[in-house]
């Protein structure tokens, strides 16, 4: 059991997501940054899909009521254990009464806090993930609050691990985000596509788990911005009439009626989701075959990122 002393800015329970429900209008939810989420789970000996906390910008303060192991990955939130600095991207063992605090992120947006055993909330439509707009899953369909008590599934304490230094991402600086053009690239002018791939776009503060709103050079349509509504894949770059792109994320609507100029590759969605308001990115087009090769490389790298942590 974990007691929530302070909930942080926006902390929700997530697992790898809710599948096969999009045809009923229910988004997958799950972590925005799957890479950091999976590493946090592996650091505490969990399967990749165990439920953990996604903490936005300012993390929670919490107390352990039983022995467990935790790990923090993702956004660079200072970690303290009973008031002393503790490392991120590494296994930490807690005794009953230990208090852990995740501070304000120094870089990145979303930090992940995993617990050995994983968080035990009811499975709703096949998942423990919180879908905030729909009030579904997680802890009563909402973000954590002060005074909440969160149960953990029983698990033995893992051996201590840390993430290899080279595998800890840097979230600062201009990002390059890879996209596959389409499905409606033909609804844009040649100049519109050149604009998308040639100019920087800035992350806006209105972004959330549903979509990342960007601002930059308007992307020109060739024949209007409305289409017959169709399904929206993760990472879809929707361009409404004002020409400003919105990248749809894990809590996105299942279908929509705006043109989609391109789709951010799955392995870059987390990197985009870690960008702070004001940070900028450039899109680079890749083909589907190249995207699949890059995805295989990313999955393979994920498997080799952990080291046994022998002090």
């Amino acid at each position: 059991m974990i007691g929530i002393l302070e909930p942080g800015a926006l902390t929700t329970v997530q697992d790898l997501g809710r599948f096969r429900q999009l045809r009923y209008g229910i988004p997958p939810s799950g972590p925005v940054d799957r890479y950091a989420f999976v590493l946090a789970n592996r650091l505490v000996g969990n399967p990749d899909g165990a439920a953990a906390l996604e903490c936005t910008l300012i993390g929670p303060r919490l107390e352990a009521h039983a022995p467990c192991a935790i790990a923090v990955a993702g956004a660079d939130m200072p970690v303290s254990l009973n008031g002393h600095e503790a490392p991120g991207w590494a296994t930490l063992v807690l005794k009953p009464g230990d208090v852990v605090k995740l501070g304000a992120a120094r870089s990145g947006v979303r930090g992940y806090l995993a617990f050995s055993g994983g968080i035990d909330v009811p499975v709703v439509m096949g998942s423990r993930s919180t879908y905030l707009r729909g009030g579904l899953g997680g802890l009563e369909g909402r973000a954590l609050r002060k005074g909440d008590r969160v149960r953990l599934c029983a698990a033995p304490l893992p051996r201590p691990w840390r993430v290899a230094r080279h595998a800890v991402p840097v979230y600062e600086g201009e990002r390059t985000i890879r996209v596959v053009l389409g499905p409606q690239a033909d609804r844009f002018t040649e100049k519109g596509i050149a604009t998308l791939l040639g100019s920087p776009y800035e992350m806006l503060p209105q972004s959330d788990r549903m979509g990342a709103r960007l601002r930059g050079e308007p992307i020109a349509h060739s024949r209007g911005h409305d289409i017959l509504s169709d399904g929206i894949a993760p990472g879809s770059i929707q361009v409404p009439g004002d020409g400003q792109p919105i990248v749809l994320l894990t809590d996105r609507q299942s279908t929509g009626g705006y043109t989609k100029v391109g789709t951010v590759c799955s392995f870059d969605i987390g990197r985009l989701g870690q960008m702070r308001p004001g940070q900028s990115l450039r899109f680079r087009a890749v083909g589907v075959g190249e995207a699949h090769q890059l995805l295989r490389d990313a999955e393979a790298a994920l498997g080799s990122d952990l080291r046994e942590n022998i002090a």
């Binding site: 599948f19 096969r20 429900q21 999009l22 045809r23 009923y24 209008g25 229910i26 709703v124 439509m125 729909g134 009030g135 579904l136 369909g141 996209v179 596959v180 389409g182 499905p183 409606q184 017959l228 509504s229 169709d230 399904g231 929206i232 894949a233 993760p234 990472g235 879809s236 609507q253 299942s254 279908t255 929509g256 989609k260 789709t263 951010v264 590759c265 799955s266 392995f267 589907v288 075959g289 995207a291 699949h292 995805l295 295989r296 999955e299």
Partner: protein, 238 residues
Amino acid sequence: MSVRFLPAGDLAVLVEFEEEISVEVNRRVRALEFLIDEKGLPGVVEAVPAFRSLLVYYDPLAAGYEALCASIAELVPEAETAVLPPARRVEVPCCYDDPELGFELAAAAERLGLSAGELVRLHSEADHLVYFIGFAPGQPYIAGMPKELTIPRLATPRTKTPAGSVGIGGTQSCIYSVESPGGFWVLGRTPLRLYDPGARDPVLLRPGDGLRFRRIDRREYERIAAEVLARTYRPVIG
């Protein structure tokens, strides 16, 4: 009949049929979804039907793009003639006769040059069809309105429409599953909850469901609403 395959990133492919909103084109979409599911195509994770397209999610570590498109293409001719499993028929009780619930009934009737009674009769006697569910949890896109009820959407969309509102716009009907902005003319309201996150089955309707709107008065509306709230109401599904 030909389809277009359009990549939607590295995890999904959009399969497009003819560019029109029609029951016939949408039937092919749902038939293709049914066939993909029935055959268990390797690597397919899930699919999302819409008016004239099917977005197929796949696991690229289990199926390559070209191979997946080829195996879907093989099913397309079959989707033309495939017999879909019998559709469910769902009765949607709807209170049209209260200006508080059907707050645009009178205006819509005037716009269409019909009496309110005639508009309600045409809407409630028609056989409707759920093209697909989308945009919001459990929200249906509904075909089957008689031609006489074709009406342009509201010039200025409302910022808030109560959940359960039944509206018309263009050639379609709509039931708002959650409170949301909207551009349909609201004729009435159903006490049913199309999306109830606390229920064992949170979403009431499915793509391909047949719908009939049953006219109820405000008293029956309140009675059903109370039963829905207590989770004792059993929707009529045939």
